[in-house]
């Protein structure tokens, strides 16, 4: 796997621990993600996948360990954290488009307010991105007027508008009707092909096989196994991974 231009991983988690009260949700997590790498995170419900993903842009704080994005330690709070977050795109299971703003305004808000781009330029770029994810004709509508698949593609465009260094996806297709899943996965696959660094929590094993460089399997707050998709799906080494795969692949 290739390292970044400066020879260090783009995202690095080192001995990360997190508790929710007594619950030890993340246990001594070590994870490095290189530039351009696509990492799929899978594991049973409650294993800590979402929490892991959310610590990377500090929507969840951690109690121990360190997280670095592009060599910079994740700030605790304030403006420095906001700036770092602007480099980390996030796509949520429930889309979370801004309900009171049009599709176009959803995509331009970050570039205008955070990147201080002139509105005209931000809009031009937003329209390009909306075209690219296939919802260019919906720019003037409100999120509630769009289908789930369209909303999620707008959410991807919104994240892309910030030119993020890395994109996090937390089950981006699991709130979608089956016929809309592929339109979102196709956008994600093309992103992966173009070299975007991605962390994707998903149950879509087809996506993992086609687009992932690596599959990380979590259970009980730990990373239990980490391998390229072919190896992971055909020859998992741990019993827990075998057990999990037999459950999801045989129905």
């Amino acid at each position: 796997m290739t390292s970044g231009s400066n020879g260090q991983p783009l995202v690095r988690l080192s001995h990360v621990d997190k508790w929710f009260g007594d619950l030890h949700v993340l246990q001594d997590i070590d994870l490095s993600i290189d530039r351009g790498e696509v990492v799929v995170v899978i594991g049973p419900s409650g294993s800590g996948k979402s929490t892991l993903c959310r610590t990377i842009n500090r929507l969840e704080s951690i109690q121990q360990g360190e997280i670095f994005i592009d060599g910079e330690r994740l700030p605790e709070e304030g403006k420095a954290l906001a700036r770092l977050r602007s480099d980390v795109g996030m796509v949520f299971q429930s889309f979370n488009l801004f309900a009171h703003k049009t599709v176009l305004e959803n995509v331009t808000l970050g570039p205008v307010k955070v990147r201080k781009q002139p509105r005209a330029r931000a809009e031009e770029r937003a329209r390009e991105l909306l075209d690219r994810v296939g919802v260019g004709t919906q720019a003037g509508k409100y999120p509630a007027q769009l289908s789930g698949g369209q909303q999620q593609r707008v959410a991807i465009a919104r994240a892309l508008a910030m030119d993020p260094k890395v994109m996090l996806f937390d089950e981006p297709t699991s709130a979608l009707d089956p016929e809309m899943i592929n339109e979102v996965l196709d956008v994600m696959i093309s992103l992966a092909r173009e070299g975007m660094t991605m962390v994707v929590i998903t149950h879509e094993m087809g996506f993992a096989r086609r687009a992932a460089n690596r599959v990380v399997f979590m259970d009980g707050g730990r990373i239990v196994e980490s391998a390229d998709p072919e190896t992971f799906f055909t020859a998992p080494t741990t019993d827990r991974a075998k057990d999990f795969l037999s459950k999801i692949l045989h129905h």
């Binding site: 906001a82 977050r85 980390v88 795109g89 949520f92 979370n96 309900a99 910030m162």
Partner: protein, 215 residues
Amino acid sequence: MQFLIDNFNLLWDAFLTTLSISALAGLVALVLGTLLAAARVSPIPPLRGLATFYVETFRNTPLTVVFFFLIFGLPQIDFVLGFFPGAVLSLGLYTAAFVCEAVRSGINAISTGQAEASRAIGLTFGQSLREVVLPQAFRTVVPPLGNVFIAMVKNSSIAAGFAVSELSSLLPRLVNANAAQLSAVLVGVVVAYMLITLPLAFLVHHVERRVAILR
């Protein structure tokens, strides 16, 4: 009726006084109440504590006591407000506590996903409030805010007890001298209040329909 026409100037002045106390106090309450609500949801604990203290203090103090404190209490420490500014400030500071709670309930009604999405694109706490959370919160709290402001207009009558010649102060003034005109004076004053509160209620209804968000 003739009695009211004869005293129209008095009634008109009192109406304008009530209207201006309400408008000015409403402005104070809206701005301060919104700032307080922002403080109550802020990530900074001392700010949250201060705002909570403010709200609990004013919500649990009778308005008359607030008036008394600002108009007669502050001069004790050589801070003389005067009756009219004292009335505006008392009513504004008091109502801000209720505005705060209404706006805060609106903020809480906005899904956490909206705030998370705005933080995820790099908006600061203040930007996230201004651009994403508050505009949606206000939409949901238009009706309760309307109630707060209608109550405030009526509460402005407390100023009558503090030498402000607003609408309610007309009742004793006119009736004491003309006992037979009691019902005329009552009708005049009630109608004058309604000239403020009914358009306010209508405005609230209108705004509520205009800003209803698709979900």
